[in-house]
């Protein structure tokens, strides 16, 4: 036993290396349990504060552009206000009934940290559990999908960007409703790829791609981008289309967090039919 200790002590450099490396790899490989391992991320008190201060300084530089985007959005919303429409059918009346059920709820938040140049990109938001934000909520902007909340602390939350290896999104071509799967394949952060488009579909440059309603996280019809190119890849039988993303992820600032209020019910029901879903 003493010899063993002496051996370890003599080679302490090597054994300490093994120990620390194993610890680091274990922390990394516990990715599946990301929700539990939120001590070392940008949502904790110290790192969140630092990013808030840095963002406060940096946000002045983009005020003009932000104002322009907000004005555009205001115009868009004003156009949807009821007062803009003439009432044509005087016989119509409103009744309180159960015809409408709220399905999606929106909150706004600010991106205080963000990246686009890694293979797996994340962003940090300035709202957290205290404001009702939790894992698996969607993060969208007026120009597209930003990502998905993976973990939240009291006042901050971290989202997995669409620019991430593990982010796959069910999308459809707006004009004919054909469904495909969108994934960012690295490289240019302004382009992603939509796969599994049946080859009999006629594609055109400029076709709009929006979210399909198959996701339990994002509402249907959110703009993603436009198709710029397509091909049948070697060994595949479906088209893979290059999609120019409408959202510039490098200028992400104001976002909306969308929560699907009926998500659990849907998943529970689906889980009872398809085991392991």
């Amino acid at each position: 036993m003493r010899n063993l200790f002496r051996f370890i002590y003599r080679h302490n450099f090597f054994f300490l290396f093994l120990l620390l490396e194993a610890l680091a790899i274990a922390l990394t490989a516990s990715y599946q349990h990301y929700h539990q391992s939120f001590f070392f991320n940008s949502a904790n008190i110290l790192t969140g504060r630092v990013y808030t201060v840095a963002d406060n300084l940096g946000s002045y530089l983009s005020l003009r552009q932000e104002n322009k985007l907000l004005a555009e959005e205001n115009t868009h919303l004003l156009n949807m206000v009821k007062d803009n429409f003439l009432i044509t059918d005087q016989d119509e009346f409103v009744k309180e009934d159960s015809l409408y059920r709220r399905r999606y709820h929106y909150m706004n938040a600010r991106v205080i940290n963000n990246s686009v140049n890694r293979r797996n990109n994340y962003f940090t938001l300035d709202k957290g559990r205290a404001q009702g934000i939790g894992p698996d909520m969607g993060v969208i902007t007026t120009r597209g999908i930003a990502g998905l909340i993976v973990t939240a602390s009291e006042n901050f939350s971290v989202g997995m960007s669409l620019l991430h290896t593990d982010f796959q999104l069910s999308v459809m071509i707006k004009k004919d409703g054909n469904i495909g799967s969108l994934r960012w394949e690295g490289g240019n952060y302004r382009q992603a790829h939509m796969s599994y488009i049946p080859p009999h579909i006629e594609l055109n440059r400029g076709d709009t791609v929006v979210t399909s309603g198959f996701s339990t996280i994002f509402p249907e019809g959110i703009l993603i981008g436009t198709i710029s190119d397509w091909e049948i890849r070697r060994g595949e039988t479906f088209y893979t289309a290059t999609v120019d993303l409408a959202l510039d992820y490098n200028t992400l600032a104001e976002v909306y967090i969308v929560s699907n209020l009926l998500r659990e019910e849907q998943q529970e029901l689906e889980g009872s039919v398809i085991p392991g879903n």
């Binding site: 620390l20 516990s30 940008s42 630092v50 940090t124």
Partner: protein
Amino acid sequence: MIGLRFRYALLFLVLVFLQVLVLNNVLLGSYLNPQVYVLFILILPVAIKGWFLLLISFVLGLSVDAFSDSLAIHAASSVFMAFCRPAVIRLVAGRIPDDGPLVPTISGFGGFTIIFYSLILIFLHHSLLFFLEIFRTDELMQTLTRIVLNSGFTLVFVFLGFALLEGFFRDRV
């Protein structure tokens, strides 16, 4: 005169904040994200105790990880780099005599040796880092491109850092 320990502590903070607040946010291209914080591991004293070298590198990597939402990939690569450091120093500079340079600097080691020394360690660090980031073997070419391009860019920044810090660490303790 400020103590050497205090200087290293200061450099630690400056490099971590430079990395997470500036370099991680400056867009140099879709693939480029130089990891300049490794300069701290490179510039630690030559005769530093092995266990301390490993521990401080682990803490350094974990600090960067905490800000980058990258789990512990920077910690893993930094510890690996620290583990290789003594062997690489022996390789590029031979056995350092007792009256030799205490800190790896351009004047102490020579510019060529510093570049060679940094390049090997940066390449080892980046190889592990970018493979751990993607954690899969497809997209191999893309990962290799990332490793090579970023190693080059990090080296440029690190050499600039060595040049800037020349006076900061030169005087003997």
